[in-house]
Structure formats: C-alpha cells, structure tokens
C-alpha cells in the first residue's frame, strides 16, 4: 500500500477537471429538474392532472423508473433524474477506474510507477479511491443542491447517498472488468455492458416484472423511494454489491500477472490476409467487432421497445400533456410512441457513430498513425477508409435497431408488415447520426485535441428529446439538434427535404474534416 496516498493526490490532480465537470453535470441534472418542475405548474390541480397522465405511461416508466408521488417536486426529481444520474456516475466511475488501471497498464506507464517504491496494489487502490471520492463528491453536491431548493432534507440526502452508493457499485464492476480483460477498450466494453444491463433490467422490471428491478443496482437506488416514503434498507444490497465487486476485483488482481488479463488472448494469424492490406481492409478489421457488438445491442434495444406492442396506447393515457410529450400532438398515440422510440434508438446508435468517427483521433493520440502514414498510405486515403467504415457501420447499427423494433412489434401483435414499416421508418435516422459523427471528423481535422467535444452534440440532442418540451426550450435552439428535423414517422409522413439536407451537411462537414487533416501537423506525443 506504500505510495497509495501520493498516487491518490497525483490522480486527483490529474483528474481535477474531469471530477469537476462530471460531478457538476450530475448535480445540474437533479437540480435543474427540481427548479424547472417547480415553475411548471400554476396550480396543484394542474400538477395532479399532469402527474396522473404520467403515472400510467409505460414508455416513460421504462425510461425513467417507478412512478411515485409524481405530483410533488421531489417525486418528479426522483423520477426524472435517478436513472440517468445512476448512468452518469456509472460512466464516470468506469472512465476513472479503467483510465488509471488497465489503460495505464496497457500503455506501459504503469510499469514505471510500479517500479518506483510503491506497493504493488497502490495504483489500483488509488484508482478506486479516486472514483469513490468522485462519487461522494457528486452525491454530496446533489444532496446539497436539492436541500437548497429547498426540498426535504432526509430525502435529498438519500438521493445523494444512494447515488454515491450506485457509483461505488459501478466502480467495483469497472475494476473487475479491468482485471478480467486484457486491454482498456475491452474493459470499457465490459463495464459499459454491465451498466447497460443494469438499466435494461430495471426498465423491463418497472413495467411489469418487478423481480428484474431487484437484481439491478439502479433498481435498488430507485427502491429507496426518496420523497415517497423514504426507506434506507436498499442501501444494504448497494453497499454489499460494491464491497463484493471490489473484493472480487482485488482477488483477481492479486492472482494475475502484470499486463495479463484473465480472459485469454488467443494467438492470431502469423500472416496478414490479402484483404487486410487492401482498401478498407484495415479500417474494417479494426472496427468489425464494435460494429457487430453495437448492432446486436441495438437490435435487442429495438426488440425491447417493439415488444411493448400496441398496448402502449392504453398505457400512455389520453391527457394532453402526455400527448404533447409522446405523440408531439400528432395523430395516433401508438404511432407517436414508436416515432419517439425511433428517435431514442437513433440517439443510442449515434454513440457508435461518434466513437467510430473518433477512432482516427485515438490512433493519432497513441502514436499508431505515425508508423502507418510513414508508408505509401496517404493521409486522405487513411482517413477516408476510416470514415467509410463509420458510415457503413452506422447504417448497419441503425438498421439493426429498426429491425429489432419491427420484429418485436410483429412478434407481440402478429402484424408482420410492421417489420418492414418500422425498419423503413428508422433508416433515415442514419442522416442525423452521420451529421453528428461528421462534427467529430471536422473537429479531428481542425483541432484534434477538442475532437471529444463532438459528444456534446449528442448530449444536447438527448436533452432536446427528453426535456425539450418540458423545459420549453425555444424551437430555434431545439433545431440545433440534428435529430430534431426529420419527420416523425410513423406519426407523420416522411419528408425528403430534411433527410437530404442532413445527409448533405454530414458530407460537407466530413469533407471539410479530411481537407483540414491534410493541412495540419500530425500531432506528436
């Protein structure tokens, strides 16, 4: 353990901005809900009516959590913020832990640290402590911000404490993932999958299969029922899971070799196939796994939404607010629900597109691109190959989401035509997905260090979809989201103009990115 304290301080200093932004972001997520809901309804009667319409809404429940005391500000905050808050701290913990453990080990920097006079486990323990500090910080800020609104102290504190505990659980699972896998990318994949499964379990559980909620850490957190009959005992499974995951991770850590994972790395071919070294071969090979993974994941997501079938009509109810949110005021409620589900699936698929568009940046950052570009491969060809795979991969992922949605719906309702209809309705979302990815490409060309900011475009689009109506964001500002323009098929008829405009925008931004990259220095580490 020698050196843990020194390392902890070093890590905290290195991560000071990350910690600041993540914890402030989480706090704003909760606090903004409280403040916006507070001013939204003129009378309690109006609030009650709105709450009643939300309470029976299966889609909202599957997205957010169990609907309890929705006619109170606290109940609204709990409902709107906890699931996403848990995901945010989960992602934060995952990034913090893997970044200081497996990523360092993979790069070899960790070797340098461990060779110094520090304990073998010191970097690992320090990484866990950093993540715990971050979670406690986020929890404390959330609690303090809610108390300041003001909301009931005990329940506000419970939301903060529970949030920190969820973060601790995901700190543990991320550390375990970092021990089991042999590389940072795989560790992120595994830890992210755990997070996704936790969210999906409670989504399905909350709609009608309660026991599934009770095997999800996010479900435990929401099971504390803050602002609706607070109870503390769900903290027990949360803390137990965190301790268990951390203990398991440390147990694996103590038994594996430096640099090794537990999941085996198999030997590969001694020679490159002819396909690898031609045209798109390398780019395809590097992204193949992630395209397949995303396609399967999005197919399952689509299936989950689709299998709600046509019952959503009854569940959504017929209040005006519900209509506004879900059907955007247009026609049939079921169609409105699926139109929104398609946008949601497209936003998730966009995660693939942006991370794929950021791959060239990753290659540049770790110095792989230098060796490659010192051969007969030109910069333009290298970047275009990678972008071509981003485009093709995005089409595959979005298509998989649409197919899942259609298949799920057809399975439940027996309406086989829905497979084609819902798939056709989903595919045009490739345009806003690629427009968002193209922002990443443009940033890569112009200012590579800022390329990651492309995620903000996606984040903004999520905010507009989720809270655009609720926070009454002006239409002009909502229009900044690339996902705001397509016709809401099947609730509306498809329109070509916005689709073509977004496709053209993506092409122009991407082209500008290539042009900028050929004119700048390759970044030197």
């Amino acid at each position: 353990m020698t050196g843990t304290w020194t390392l902890l301080r070093h890590f905290l200093w290195r991560d000071r901005w990350m910690l600041t932004w993540w914890s402030l972001g989480t706090t704003v997520l909760y606090w903004s809900q409280a403040v916006s809901v507070k001013g939204l309804y003129a009378t309690q009667a109006e609030f009650d009516a709105a709450a009643a319409s939300m309470e029976g809404n299966a889609a909202l429940i599957s997205m957010a959590g169990p609907a309890r005391a929705l006619n109170t500000v606290g109940g609204q905050v709990t409902w709107q913020a906890t699931a996403f808050g848990a995901i945010v701290v989960g992602l934060m913990s995952m990034f913090l832990v893997v970044r200081h453990t497996r990523a360092e080990e993979e790069s070899g920097r960790d070797e340098l640290l461990r060779a110094a006079a520090i304990g073998r486990a010191a970097p690992t323990v320090a990484a866990v402590l950093v993540a715990l500090v971050a979670n406690v910080l986020a929890g404390a800020l959330v609690a303090a911000s809610l108390v300041s609104v003001p909301l009931a102290v005990a329940d506000s504190v419970a939301l903060g404490v529970g949030l920190a505990a969820v973060g601790a659980v995901f700190t543990g699972t991320a550390l375990l993932a970092a021990q089991l896998t042999g590389g940072a990318r795989a560790a992120y994949g595994l830890a992210g999958a755990v997070l996704a499964v936790a969210y999906v379990l409670r989504a399905i559980g909350d709609v009608g299969t309660p026991f599934l909620t009770w095997i999800s850490p996010i479900g435990w957190y929401q099971g504390m029922y803050a602002f609706s009959g607070l109870r503390w005992w769900p903290m027990l499974p949360l803390l137990a899971a965190a301790v268990l995951a951390l203990a398991a991770a440390l147990w694996v850590f103590a038994r594996r070799d430096f640099g090794a994972g537990v999941l085996p790395t198999r030997p590969g071919p001694a020679r490159a196939s002819a396909a690898l070294t031609r045209g798109l071969g390398l780019a395809t090979r590097l992204q193949r796994g992630s395209v397949i993974g995303w396609a399967i994941g999005m197919w399952l997501m689509g299936l989950a939404y689709g299998s709600m079938g046509s019952d959503v009509g009854d569940l959504i109810g017929d209040s005006e607010l519900s209509r506004d949110m879900f059907a955007r005021g247009a026609g049939d409620l079921v169609d409105g629900f699926y139109a929104t589900a398609i946008v949601l699936l497209a936003l998730m698929s966009c995660g693939f597109a942006v991370s794929s568009a950021l791959r060239p940046r990753g290659d540049e950052d770790v110095g792989r691109v230098e060796v490659l570009l010192a051969t007969g491969l030109s910069r333009t060809r290298w970047l275009l190959a990678s972008m071509a795979v981003t485009v093709a991969g995005s089409v595959v992922v979005v298509l998989a989401a649409g197919l899942g949605l259609g298949s799920g719906y057809a399975l439940v309702t027996g309406d086989d035509a829905a497979v084609v209809d819902l798939t056709v309705a989903t595919v045009p979302y490739v345009a806003p997905v690629l427009a968002t990815a193209a922002v990443a490409s443009l940033l890569f060309g112009l200012a590579p260090r800022l390329a990651g900011l492309a995620w903000l475009v996606l984040g903004y689009a999520v905010v507009v979809l989720m809270f655009g109506e609720l926070l009454s964001i002006p239409e002009r500002l909502q229009g900044l989201s690339p996902f705001h323009h397509l016709a809401l098929v099947p609730a509306e008829d498809f329109r070509w103009a916005p689709f073509l405009a977004l496709t053209a925008l993506a092409a122009v931004l991407g082209g500008a990115g290539v042009a900028a990259f050929t004119r700048r220095d390759v970044e030197v580490r």
Partner: protein, 299 residues
C-alpha cells in the same frame, strides 16, 4: 543524383517554442548517418518534418530531391521508418502488422522476413496488446528491414532491445548499408553510433553543432596519453595543446589536442619509450564536449 536527405535552415515552432532553429542535415547515399542529441534537442521533430508529418515553418527540406510535405505518400514507398515508441493495434498480430506495413511500402522480401523473425526471436502470432515494448519495436524493425526500400529512418530504434538483440540489430543495419543503401539513425546510445555510423551530426537546441566523420570529429578533440619513459621527461609542459599534465617520476599522463599529438609523441620518444598507450576520444567525450561541463572547451 541528389542526396537522399538534404535539410538546410529548417525552422519549426510549436506555439512559442522554437523546436528547430535553422537546422542543417545532409545524408549521403550509401552511408549510415548518426543523428545525435540529448532528449528534446529536436531529433524526432526533424524526422517528422522529413516524413511530412509536420509542416516546416522555414528553410529547405528535400527527401530524395523532393518536398516531403507535398509528396509524402510517394516518397514513403522508398523508405522505412521505425519510431522509438512503437504502438501496435491491440487486435492485430505482429505478423499481420509486418505484412501490412511492408505491403503499404510496396512489398516485402519474403525470405528476409522469415530470416529476420528468426534472428529477432519474434513470435508473429501474438496480438499487439500482448507484446512488450521491446517486442513491439522488433515488429516495426522486422517490417522495416524486410521492406524493399532505399532509405531507413530509425528514431532511437533500440531503446527497448536487450544487448543481444541490439547486436542483431547492428548486423542487420550493417548488411542493409552494404548493399549501397542509406540509413539515418537517431540515437543517444553512443556505442551503437560509434559502432555503426560513417558520419554523425550532433544537434543541440534545434541546431546542428557538429558534423563529419568520426575521425574528423576526433581531430577536434583530445587524445589521452599514458607513457613510461626511460629518462625523465622534459619539455611537455611548454607545448601548447597539452592539458592536465601529470608527471610522476618516469611516468606521465596527459591529454593533448589531437592535432598536436605528433609533436607530443616526439618529445616522449626523445626520453626513450618504455611503454605507451594513446586512447582516442570516445564519442561520449565528443558529446560531453557539447553538452556537459566535464571537459573544458578547447582553447
């Protein structure tokens, strides 16, 4: 025909930092040219400008007679580059990377590839993430040495190799040069440079401070002499160019500017030589003369 590498007055700035400040470098066909300098002196920056990765801010850079920024990909087919820090794709095997880089350069010598794998004791079926630093470097070295190119650009290529592999590396580079091809070897392993290089350029703070063959450079510095004479020695202390003279009875130690070595030896001979060792300056001493405070500057 133009020399493979011709650089004059090269300037490159990063923000306010002037990384290269009027650097000159000429590498002739068929030589192994040592490129020496401490960390941060601009060696890697020079190489990256030479490869068209960085855009120059001033001066002239010619690679095979043309501009590397404008014609990067075409020129790259004629050379192979090994960086000091090799990072591989985690999911590709070493063998795949060797083939990939080789084919992108325009082809690999199959026999040579097999031979190099054996000599470097490299397992080509391991995935990139499973290699150690030294083995990653070997992957890049095998890819470079098995490629059919005219020029090798090596940026501290042996920093992760063990001594045994380093000698394999040296033999391979020697062999490469023997077929009339050219090598630019950036290094701070002086023994390696001394063993391999025909000419060296020493740079400091983005400028070349010395260039020439090793013997030319040696001429600028001092030779250490230890001798035992039959009769007591006289006259050495009056000779200009002699430094750090110590006389201990019949034994004498001193350093002498290499240009005055003959005269000094003449004086010793007059006293009758019992034993004599003269040590030429090592590259290390040359190096320290420019960077360290260990040797005084020549008068």
């Amino acid at each position: 025909m133009a020399d493979p590498i011709e650089i004059s007055g090269l300037v490159k700035t990063f923000g306010h930092v002037r990384a290269l400040d009027g650097l000159d470098l000429d590498v002739a066909q068929g030589e192994i040219h040592g490129f020496l300098g401490p960390n941060g002196s601009g060696k890697s920056t020079t190489i990256r400008v030479l490869l068209g990765m960085l855009r120059k801010d001033g001066g002239e850079v010619r690679l095979f007679g043309s501009d590397p920024w404008a014609h990067a990909a075409d020129l790259h087919r004629r050379l192979a580059y090994v960086p000091g820090e090799v990072n591989l794709w985690p999911s590709l095997t070493g063998g795949e990377v060797i083939d990939l880089l080789g084919r992108l350069r325009g082809g690999l010598d199959e026999r040579r590839r097999a031979e190099l794998l054996e000599r470097f004791e490299l397992d080509p079926t391991k995935k990139g993430r499973a290699y150690s630093k030294g083995n990653r470097q070997k992957v890049a070295l095998v890819a470079a040495l098995a490629s059919d190119v005219e020029l090798l650009v090596l940026d501290e290529p042996t920093s992760g190799l063990d001594p045994l592999m380093e000698s394999v590396f040296q033999e391979c580079v020697d062999h490469f040069r023997d077929s009339g091809r050219t090598v630019l070897l950036s290094s701070h392993i002086l023994a390696e440079v001394e063993r391999l290089c025909d000419r060296v350029s020493i740079i400091r703070a983005g400028r070349r401070v010395e260039t020439g063959t090793l013997s030319e450079l040696r001429h600028l510095t001092r030779t250490s002499v230890a001798a035992e004479t039959v009769r007591p020695l006289a006259g050495l202390d009056g000779l200009s160019g002699v430094h750090d003279l110590e006389i201990d009875g019949h034994r004498v130690f001193f350093e002498v500017d290499t240009a005055r070595l003959g005269e000094a030896l003449g004086i010793i001979q007059e006293a009758g030589v019992a034993s004599l060792t003269a040590t030429p300056p090592t590259l290390e001493e040359l190096f320290l003369r420019h960077y360290g405070d260990h040797t005084k500057p020549p008068p």
